[in-house]
């Protein structure tokens, strides 16, 4: 058992920047899927996929929310691809302090793409389903099981709060709120 490398299905969404028409149907679908109850509200600002659009520069980049990071980058990258200039954060998927993307608009808590995990599972993540022009395509491939821990949303959210306020303050606040209940 121990000498066998564990395999698992790796889910990926491939992005083709040239095919994106900038319609943001992916954002609408994502925000609907992740609302509670499901599909009960729409709000692209809550979407875990955003299309970064800069019309005049012909920049259309669909990007999925990744791991939260508490710090801004120390240096920034700008990209020139096929003579096209991309903004410094165009390809970054991290909710971070320097921009508004991938944060709950009211609480500011970070969002992360979960590939539409649900029971029963969807055939494909919803953003891929509504992307008829195939800017987004879904792929499953077999890969080595990484030691990636599966973290739930509350872990991620709490960690962001801890970074912001410190663990003690959070503990006190929770205790105070529990008392009020």
């Amino acid at each position: 058992m121990n000498d066998k490398i564990e395999k698992k299905m790796v889910k990926t969404i491939k992005v083709d920047l040239n095919k994106c028409i900038g319609c943001r149907a992916c954002e609408v679908a994502c925000s609907a899927f992740h609302s509670t109850p499901k599909y009960s509200s729409i709000n692209p600002a809550r979407s875990r996929i955003r299309v970064l659009i800069d019309d005049l520069k012909d920049v259309y980049v669909p990007i999925r929310a990744g791991e939260y990071t508490p710090a801004e980058c120390s240096g920034r990258n700008t990209y020139t691809i096929n003579k096209k200039k991309y903004r410094e954060c165009s390809f970054c998927n991290a909710p971070c302090p320097s921009r508004a993307y991938f944060k709950e608009p009211d609480s500011g808590l970070p969002l992360k793409c979960d590939m539409c995990e649900s029971d029963p599972p969807l055939e494909e993540p919803l953003c891929v389903q509504v992307c008829r022009v195939d800017a987004l395509t879904y792929e499953e491939r077999e890969g080595a099981a990484a030691d990636e821990e599966v973290r739930d949303e509350m872990d991620i959210g709490l960690e962001a709060m801890v970074d912001k306020f410190g663990l003690d303050k959070i503990r006190d606040t929770v205790a105070r709120m529990a008392k009020k209940e």
Binding site: N18, I21, G22, C23, R24, A25, V28, A29, A32, S35, P37, K38, Y39, S40, S41, I42, N43, P44, A45, R46, L52, D54, D55, L56, K57, D58, Y60, R87, A100, P105, Q129, V130, R132, V133
Partner: protein, 660 residues
């Protein structure tokens, strides 16, 4: 809780700098749905008929549609409503893109603007924070350029901006409001400029609630696929390189000449190569899988997006090639000029010059070539420089200001507004009615549900009718009976004109794009949205309980309210006529009969005024009372005109030609 709506309008008084968030009456949603419908109600309540369009008391209303910010694909068209200085009548235009849904997420169904700013300002709406900001540094900036500059200065790359260019600032009547890949025209840009409002930037991050979430979402996923797969919707003309149909059937120059034989294989290859050369991307509007817009990058011009028929309007008005279109659109886009009316004004000016009515004194150093003349005239018009000041008021007014016989060259306006350059052979009954009576001023905003031409092959025709889910039963019968070169009966013509325009009133209230609905039944007969699936979609989204009859009635109410706005401003039967030369072969007797019958069919009296009975049936009693008080309707009015429908079909001798 109100579903799909925010329940609030933003009221802006630019004279006083006052900003208010005002709760709206949910009953108005039941009566008018939203968009154009509720905007017409506000105009009725607040803008008295005596108000000059350039008065601070005129209102400029930006309305989201009822279905904006829901998952319904293609619900993204913002309605802009006001009164136009060109027609002195109600002015309405719609633009797509992303702006309307963003406004809803910011917490507002409408922005209602009144007053006038003493200096150029822009509006910045960031959820609950609303500011009127100095825009003097944006004076003269291009329309899309303004959007980018505002995003930059606010550090809000996600703000959606609708802006005017220099044309709007200088109150050019053909000016537009530009946003991303879309624009609003037909007299709304000039009012935005008159009010001193350069732009409206919006950012919204609030939730919009859905009444029946799983039902609506399941439907929308299905519609998303259906729309993408349906070749008969969207702007399919933009995806075709073969322009034969348009270049052969539309008139060139100042709506003068049809050029048979212009189109050939060689030209098609040249034009295709030119388009490929400058195309950078196909783009779509908010939450719609159709890529109707072509992003164009022309050397020396800011990137812009080709909209609809503008690919041909400038080239054809100037008797030029496609290269010219892509070049001049780079200029007119940033000035904020309408691609329908502006080319006609320019072609009209060139005719006046060639006729010696305008001279070298009016147009010093006027270039010899048509392309050069167009660029020259654009600059004169947007700056209202010299004779450009008259031309900036559109063909009708320019002709009268210039005088000296110029009136003769104004041959393609209805209600003082430039029409699509179509000059056809034989009068077409439903089109006669639509041209005469529409108050959306452009045939493209009125036609679209009933096919433009019959299907010659009987079996094909039957197959078409069998799959025609969008059509009420009576139209199936008429279409089955329709043989080539035959007029529909008066009864059918009335019904066709009515259905066509009613569907536009549905779309413009809920905010759905006409290219997925009201405009897209006429070729192929398979619009994704129609009378029989929209009620369910609206019900799922909003929780309202409506069926197709209810939807029709609401649209008819909105339509009659719009007519009431114009009747109160003096519009009458005498104004309801297509240009004299629109068809070569006219039939005055039949035209009178058609108009009489249509008025009666619509529940209007012989002068085109909705009768008391009609107004009562549509819960527009307040309009009735106003009309009686003003003497527009008398206390004891007689019955409407009594001509009845003539149940006869007429054989046509010449091929009749389709429109679009």
């Amino acid at each position: 809780m109100r579903f799909t709506e925010t329940g609030f309008n933003l009221e802006i008084d630019l004279s006083r700098g006052n900003i208010e968030r005002v709760e709206t009456d949910p009953k108005l949603t039941d009566l008018h749905l939203g968009g154009q419908g509720t905007a017409a109600k506000i105009l009725w309540d607040r803008v008295a008929p005596e108000v000059d369009p350039f008065s601070p008391d005129n209102h400029l209303i930006f309305s989201t549609g009822l279905l904006h910010a829901t998952p319904v694909p293609g619900a993204n068209r913002t309605s802009v409503d006001t009164f136009s200085p060109q027609t002195n009548l109600y002015s309405h235009s719609i633009f797509g893109g992303f702006w309307g849904p963003e406004l809803k997420h910011a917490g507002y169904d409408k922005i209602v603007i009144r007053g006038k700013s003493s200096d150029l300002v822009y509006l910045w709406i960031n959820n609950d924070k609303v500011e009127i900001r100095d825009a003097r540094h944006l004076r003269g900036k291009g329309a899309l350029e303004t959007g980018a500059l505002i995003q930059e200065e606010l550090k809000e790359p996600e703000a959606q901006v609708a802006a005017i260019g220099l044309a709007g600032e200088n109150r050019v009547y053909m000016s537009t409001i530009e946003h991303a890949n879309s624009s609003a025209s037909r007299g709304v840009g000039v009012i935005m400029g008159d009010k001193g409002l350069k732009a409206i930037a919006v950012r919204g991050t609030k939730d919009i609630k859905i009444a029946k979430p799983p039902e609506l979402f399941e439907t929308c996923i299905r519609m998303n696929k259906e729309i993408y797969d349906n070749p008969d919707c969207g702007c399919f003309f933009r995806h075709e390189d073969d322009e034969e149909w348009h270049v052969n059937n539309f008139a060139w120059g100042n709506a003068r000449e049809r050029r048979k034989g212009f189109w050939n294989k060689e030209r098609e290859e040249q034009w295709t190569a030119i388009t490929r050369k400058y195309t950078v991307r196909w783009t779509g509007c908010y939450n719609c899988p159709k890529d109707c817009h072509l992003a164009i990058s022309y050397p020396g011009r800011l990137k812009y997006q080709l909209k609809c028929y503008s690919k041909l309007t400038y080239a054809m008005a100037a008797f030029e090639e496609l290269e010219f279109t892509y070049d001049i659109l780079g200029v007119t886009q940033e000035y904020g000029l309408d691609g329908f009316s502006m080319p006609q004004v320019l072609a009209f000016a060139i005719e006046l010059y060639e006729a010696g009515i305008l001279t070298d004194k009016d147009l010093p150093k006027f270039p010899l070539d048509s392309s050069g003349r167009f660029f020259y005239l654009v600059e004169k018009v947007v700056r209202r420089d010299g004779v450009g000041d008259a031309l900036a008021n559109g063909v009708y007014w320019a002709a009268r200001q210039i005088g000296n016989g110029a009136e003769e060259f104004d041959h393609n306006t209805i209600k003082k507004f430039e029409q699509v350059p179509l000059k056809l052979n034989m009068i077409n009954y439903p089109y006669f009615l639509m041209y005469a009576t529409s108050e959306k001023m452009n045939i493209t905003q009125t036609e679209g549900s009933y096919p433009q031409g019959p299907i010659a092959d009987r079996a094909e025709r039957e197959a078409f009718v069998k799959n025609w889910d969008a059509a009420p039963e009576r139209f199936k019968k008429w279409f089955l009976e329709w043989e080539p070169r035959q007029h529909p009966s008066i009864e059918a013509a009335c019904n066709i004109a009515d259905w066509n325009e009613i569907m536009h009133y549905v779309d413009d209230a809920v905010g759905i794009c006409a290219f997925l609905s009201s405009f897209r039944g006429q070729f192929g007969g398979r619009p994704p949205y129609h009378l029989y699936n929209l009620p369910e979609i609206i019900s799922y989204a909003t929780g309202m309980n409506i069926d197709d009859d209810d939807l029709w009635k609401i649209a008819a109410r909105n339509r009659n309210l719009v007519r009431a706005l114009n009747i109160r401003r003096g519009m009458r039967r005498i104004d309801e006529k297509p240009p004299e030369d629109h068809w070569k072969h006219r039939d005055p007797e039949m035209e009178t009969k058609l108009l009489n019958s249509y008025y009666q069919f619509k529940g209007w009296n012989n002068d085109g005024i909705p009768t008391k009975k009609t107004l009562d049936e549509l819960s527009l009693e307040y309009v009735k009372e106003d009309f009686v008080q003003r003497g527009i309707l008398s206390e004891n009015e007689g019955p409407a005109s009594k001509n009845g429908y003539a149940e006869k079909s007429l054989e046509l001798k010449q091929e009749d030609v389709c429109h679009e």
